[in-house]
């Protein structure tokens, strides 16, 4: 509201001028450079480049003008959509090209700071304009202009150019962070365009491959978490509206591309993803948990007499890039947990455990799932470390009679059905490719089954494993070997349980699963 007088008119004039120039010019770089040089001179003459504040205001005005073009053109009566888009895109593409040229040529050669600062400034301005437009227009919001802007600016800044190439990490990070601030929970009217942006083939290649040493991975993991968090409340409903179905299928496609091309990425960040994916999204979770490093050859889970503990991979700890320990809150609870793990004292710790996990009395949302997942993971990894320190491999015998298994058994017995379901899910989320976590948690869940003091617990363990197995593929390797062990090993007396034969359909189901497993 406090723009200097005349700035809006100057911006309009300059932008009109640039759009006209851009529409006429050829692709020849010499003419492009000449036009740009002359235009920058004009900007100087108009005083736009005098201060950082003026430059910011210019971009804000220009973004606003481009936004208004979108709505004005779409409002033109009987203008076909493709012609309307052509008109809009001429403005957006021109604006994008101006920004790209300014980024490329600003500051001194060899000094990237000015360029990246300018890029961040412009991205921030466009982001702010989008959010304001989204809020103001509500269901009348049009995503096409902003979608075009982000995509074309990204593509221009990814074009073959030595200067831009040297800034690639910063450029991709700037876009990635902007997309995070623009995620669907913040701007649901932009959600489809957003998913297109974060899954564009060039963006994927840059953020997951071309940024060296996987430095783009944490940012991309954050974007996926944003997506899952947004979808979660809709996917918790069994009836999916058409928009949700479309977004969900789109998410599946993206996950499949990641599973095929970047399985190590899914491996490293599985814990954080499972924290935000609703427990009823069994197949989507399975896609992530089925990932395994490309250099690994998985033993056939149906191999007779497969000795999982003899596999060398079973002693290798997987990389878990999500930090789960920080989720064990509050700090006093963590302190008590560590005390119990060390000394199995105080005994009251176990009886108070449920109280820490339960947050409401509303069915379906009673428990803190994040804390549950972190607790299970922390206790399990501590148990593995303790056993390995004694130069043993975890097995169903040596994992028993420990503070760690006390906690797991207490949770299995003390929690209600809802809590136990989440607890068992937290364990099953670690049944992945051959590694020390898969091995330990496989032993742990089998031990819980064997030592359960009620058939209800055994039934629920079976149910949790089965629901992950009966959905369409893929299925994680660790899940398969655990279930095969459960139904094959006579120790567990699986087929003697009433719940296996509680109804003809259930009997047939188990027999069918067993046939395919055995």
């Amino acid at each position: 509201t406090d723009d200097p007088p005349g700035l809006q008119e100057k911006t309009e004039f300059l932008l009109n001028d640039w759009v006209a120039l851009y529409s006429q010019q050829t692709q020849q770089t010499t003419r492009d450079a000449r036009n740009f040089g002359a235009f920058v001179q004009k900007m100087h003459t108009y005083g736009i480049l005098k201060t950082d504040d003026l430059i910011t205001r210019f971009f804000r005005q220009a973004t606003q003008i481009c936004t208004e073009v979108v709505y004005r053109v779409f409002a033109e009566p009987s203008l076909p959509v493709n012609q309307a888009k052509n008109k809009i895109f001429q403005w957006i593409d021109a604006f994008v090209h101006l920004i790209a040229m300014l980024v490329r040529h600003s500051g001194e050669a060899g000094n990237p700071t000015t360029k990246i600062n300018l890029l961040n400034k412009v991205l921030g301005i466009v982001l702010g304009t989008l959010l304001k437009d989204h809020e103001m227009r509500g269901v009348g919001f049009q995503q096409v202009g902003f979608h075009r802007f982000f995509m074309m600016l990204f593509m221009e800044l990814c074009s073959a150019d030595a200067i831009l190439e040297s800034l690639m990490h910063s450029i991709v990070s700037a876009f990635g962070y902007t997309y995070h601030l623009l995620n669907p929970s913040v701007a649901p009217g932009f959600c489809f365009a957003w998913l297109e942006l974060i899954s564009h083939r060039v963006f994927l290649g840059r953020i997951l491959v071309q940024i060296p040493n996987q430095k783009g991975w944490p940012l991309y993991a954050q974007l996926l978490q944003d997506l899952f968090k947004y979808l979660a409340p809709f996917l918790r409903n069994t009836e999916l509206g058409k928009p949700v179905q479309l977004l969900y299928r789109g998410t599946l496609r993206v996950l499949l591309v990641l599973l095929h091309d970047f399985p190590e990425f899914l491996c490293d960040y599985h814990f954080g993803f499972c924290d935000v994916i609703p427990p009823n999204c069994v197949q989507m979770r399975n896609i992530i948990l089925s990932a395994f490093p490309r250099n690994m050859r998985l033993p056939d889970p149906f191999t007779p007499n497969l000795k999982v503990d003899m596999l060398s991979d079973s002693s290798n700890a997987p990389k878990v890039s999500s930090s789960f320990t920080v989720n064990i809150q509050p700090p006093n609870f963590k302190k008590d947990l560590d005390s119990y793990l060390k000394a199995r004292a105080p005994v009251t710790f176990l009886s108070e455990l449920r109280g820490h996990l339960q947050v409401t009395s509303e069915p379906g949302t009673r428990y803190n799932m994040t804390l549950m997942n972190a607790l299970v993971m922390y206790v399990g990894t501590q148990a593995i470390a303790l056993i390995r320190n004694k130069n043993f491999m975890p097995n169903t015998s040596n994992i028993a009679h420990s503070a760690h298994m006390d906690i797991f058994q207490n949770l299995a017995v003390d929690l209600d059905t809802e809590g136990r379901y989440l607890f068992l899910n937290a364990i099953a989320n670690q049944l992945r490719y051959p590694n020390s976590h898969t091995h330990y948690f496989s032993c742990a869940v089998l031990h819980l089954f064997a030592e359960a003091n009620s058939e209800a617990i055994q039934e629920q363990i079976t149910r949790v494993l089965l629901e992950r197995l009966i959905v369409n593929r893929p299925h994680p390797w660790g899940l398969l070997i655990t279930f095969i062990e459960l139904i094959k090993n006579p120790i567990y007396k699986f087929w003697e349980h009433d719940f296996v034969h509680c109804a003809p359909e259930i009997t047939k189901l188990f027999e069918s699963v067993a046939r395919s497993c055995l």
């Binding site: 083939r201 789109g250 591309v257 197949q283």
Partner: protein, 47 residues
């Protein structure tokens, strides 16, 4: 039972990477050669 993931338009058995020809989350075909941007020699940009 979930979705048939083989029916989403991705060649999951491909030996090549999928992401360079990924046409987007709402398209059930990969990109065709004419859909993929390429750094052609500048002389080829005639139009």
């Amino acid at each position: 039972l979930g979705t048939d993931l083989t029916a989403l338009g991705l060649n999951l058995n491909s030996q090549e990477s999928l992401h360079p020809t990924f046409a987007g989350p709402f398209v059930d075909q990969p990109c065709r050669a004419q859909d993929v941007e390429f750094n052609v020699p500048p002389e080829y940009l005639i139009n």
